[in-house]
């Protein structure tokens, strides 16, 4: 019995069914099998991330063998003899690119899933509620008005994202984050974000019409999110940020599960609803902000990762969403960097162009084939 209750807390959706069928052997078995499937598929996603990560380092227009790779890394770490050409390509290009792709993918996927779960709205994600737009507007101002490039643009993007997050927070604080009935407070947060996103989006579009066409084209690439400027320097800021944020998200995952049962139930189970919500918002925003600063607002990863992960593993899961985010970014970048130039006369597409083009049909296919009621 106590195990059922425990599961009730972890998996609210299923408990009713579990209690109902607790007496019946075969069904319980099916259920256990399904749970195992969800678990296995999360590992499957993790394996996919590893394979894509390795592939994007070793394969592509410039292939590296595994022994060579270790030789290069070893030489780099110990200051030994370098392989001409290969060392540079691996250490300055392929490896940082893959790492930035991995980290931003994890961050975007997790951030989107946090927003979607907390606000109980599948449309909520940093793309929708204005965080990305804050980063974009700020970065485009930096590019178009001040002629900035490189790290300055990243810094501007980070500032923009955080400023919007602060604004949204101040706006929705009036109605306080802990809604008394339903998720009215959550809706308010999202709607405030949508309003801000619309205004900032307009500013970006307007600046694009005022800039000269070459600057506009450069801004467009940034706006789509690109791993081209991936450097060790970016990893240096991204990695420590994630080292703080990922454990934070993991720690908040449990109270988040309880929040899904409704604010009152969660409070009854000892969750400090207001504090947890604030923590979740800040974590999700910070994840989106650091990822955006590193690679630009890689389109739709945050929005797509949650729903795809849910349909692959059969249940909403934060780790699976983060892994799905990484899969999307790494796969899209492999395509954009290695395959697209063959099709488009050498144009290296920004990764964000491909994330949507790959992820969206996949989600649509999942939507069309899954016949779950909540699909």
């Amino acid at each position: 019995m106590s195990r059922t209750v425990e599961r009730a807390i972890v998996e609210p959706e299923r408990t009713v069914g579990a209690l109902k069928t607790a007496k019946k052997g075969p069904q319980l078995y099916v259920r256990a099998e399904r749970a195992a499937k969800g678990f296995n598929r999360t590992w499957l996603l993790a394996a996919a991330v590893v394979i894509l990560f390795v592939a994007s380092i070793l394969l592509g227009s410039y292939t590296v063998t595994v022994p060579d790779f270790f030789t290069i890394v070893w030489a780099h770490l110990t200051g030994g003899e370098k392989i001409p050409g290969a060392s540079f390509i691996v250490m300055e290009n392929k490896l940082p690119r893959a790492i930035v792709g991995l980290l931003t993918g994890l961050a975007f996927g997790l951030s989107g899933a946090l927003f979607q779960t907390m606000l109980r709205n599948p449309l909520a994600s940093p793309d929708v509620i204005g965080i990305s737009h804050g980063a974009s507007a700020s970065a485009v101002v930096a590019i178009v008005v001040f002629g900035a490039s490189g790290a300055t643009v990243s810094a501007a993007a980070l500032l923009g994202a955080l400023a919007v997050a602060l604004l949204i927070y101040l706006i929705s604080r009036g109605g306080n984050l802990r809604g008394s009935r339903g998720n009215a407070a959550g809706n308010r947060l999202v709607l405030a974000g949508v309003g801000i996103a619309a205004a900032l989006g307009a500013v970006v579009n307007f600046l694009m019409t005022r800039a000269d066409i070459r600057t506009a084209a450069e801004a467009l690439i940034w706006l789509n999110g690109s791993l081209n400027p991936a450097t060790w320097e970016r990893i240096g800021t991204l990695l420590p940020a994630l080292c703080v944020l990922l454990p934070l998200a993991a720690g908040l995952a449990k109270p988040l599960r309880l929040l899904e049962l409704g604010d009152d139930t969660a409070a009854g189970l000892g969750v400090r609803v207001g504090a947890v919500r604030l923590g979740l918002v800040l974590t999700a925003v910070a994840l989106a902000a650091v990822a955006t600063a590193a690679a630009g607002p890689v389109s739709f990863v945050a929005f797509l990762a949650g729903p795809i992960a849910r349909r692959v593993t059969g249940k909403p899961s934060l780790p699976a969403s983060a892994l799905t985010g990484a899969v999307i970014v790494l796969a899209a970048d492999y395509f954009a960097y290695n395959l697209a130039p063959l099709l488009l006369d050498g144009t290296v597409l920004p990764v964000g162009v491909v994330t949507g083009a790959l992820g969206a049909p996949f989600l649509l296919w999942l939507l069309a084939t899954s016949n779950r009621k909540d699909a």
Partner: protein, 283 residues
């Protein structure tokens, strides 16, 4: 004579078959209670009877015609339904909500029907009146208490002015006084207007008291139907709920009253002896 009946009805969600080859009838002009354990398919049956769920096989007929072959609005003028825990749009007033029950009586292209004397307005007023919600008419539905809110939803179903009314657990979350109030209200409706009523109800004692006809279900099949006294027996409670109990006559109405035994109490031997004669007196 039944108006609403199910012939060899099979109902399923996706691949999960809940009800198979079920036959039953909702007798005309009576209050029918559908009872059974959690997950026995009673709510599913109600969804099938009210065309929310299309049968995988068999049919539900109203006055001899398949309900799925009739125009939806025409059917809705005869057959009304109140689902379990409906949601009201935020900020809607009681009067507006009850007025929305008039939908099947209004033409598609007519958005407005004005005048205090219009049949629609009259129906809404009658519905408010019957449920004692007239004073609440201009209140916001969200700010009402649970009992008031449930009365408002019933008022909406009344405004639909159907001859058959199906209610899915209308007393959930209500305190005992409000449960009785709601069932009294439904009984009034049945006695005064002759409305045929079918209710899915959890509380066996209340079901026994208010029912003219009881349908007991287990694992998607009807295990017994008939009058409350015929159907609700210790044997039935054991089969359907797996619960040992004593059934005694309700001191107020004479209908069966189930007294569960449980694991921590043992019935005094004389209790069983008094039960039988009492039941005979009641019948």
């Amino acid at each position: 004579m039944a108006r609403l009946s199910a012939r060899d009805l099979t109902l399923q969600y996706e691949q999960r078959r809940v009800i198979e080859g079920l036959r039953t009838e909702i007798p005309e002009g009576k209050v029918t209670m559908i009872v059974g354990a959690n997950g026995c398919g009673k709510s599913t049956l109600l969804r099938g009877l009210s065309r929310l769920l299309r049968p995988a096989a068999g049919a539900v007929t109203l006055d001899g015609k398949d309900i799925h072959s009739r125009p939806a609005k025409e059917l809705a003028r005869t057959l009304g339904l109140l689902p379990q825990q409906p949601t009201a749009p935020d900020g809607i007033t009681v009067r507006d909500l009850v007025g929305r029950g008039r939908y099947p009586h209004q033409a598609f292209f007519r958005n407005w029907s004005h005048g205090d004397s219009s049949p629609h307005d009259l129906a809404v007023r009658n519905a408010l009146d019957a449920t004692a919600t007239t004073e609440l008419a201009d209140r916001i539905v969200d700010e009402l208490s649970g009992g008031q809110r449930q009365r408002v939803w019933i008022a909406m179903a009344l405004a639909q002015e159907t001859e058959v009314l199906l209610l899915d657990e209308p007393t959930t979350y209500l305190d005992l006084a409000h449960q009785v109030e709601v069932l009294d209200l439904v009984t009034d409706l049945n006695r005064r207007r002759g409305t045929t009523v079918a209710i899915v109800l959890h509380d066996l004692n209340l079901a026994a008291r208010y029912a003219d006809h009881v349908i007991a279900m287990k694992d998607g099949a009807v295990v017994a139907e008939g009058t409350g006294i015929d159907v609700i027996t210790e044997e039935l409670v054991r089969t359907v709920f797996g619960l040992e109990s004593r059934v005694v006559p309700d001191p107020v109405s004479g209908t069966p009253l189930i007294v569960p035994i449980g694991r921590h109490h043992y019935p005094a031997p004389q209790a069983t002896e008094t039960t039988k004669p009492a039941l005979e007196i009641a019948s």
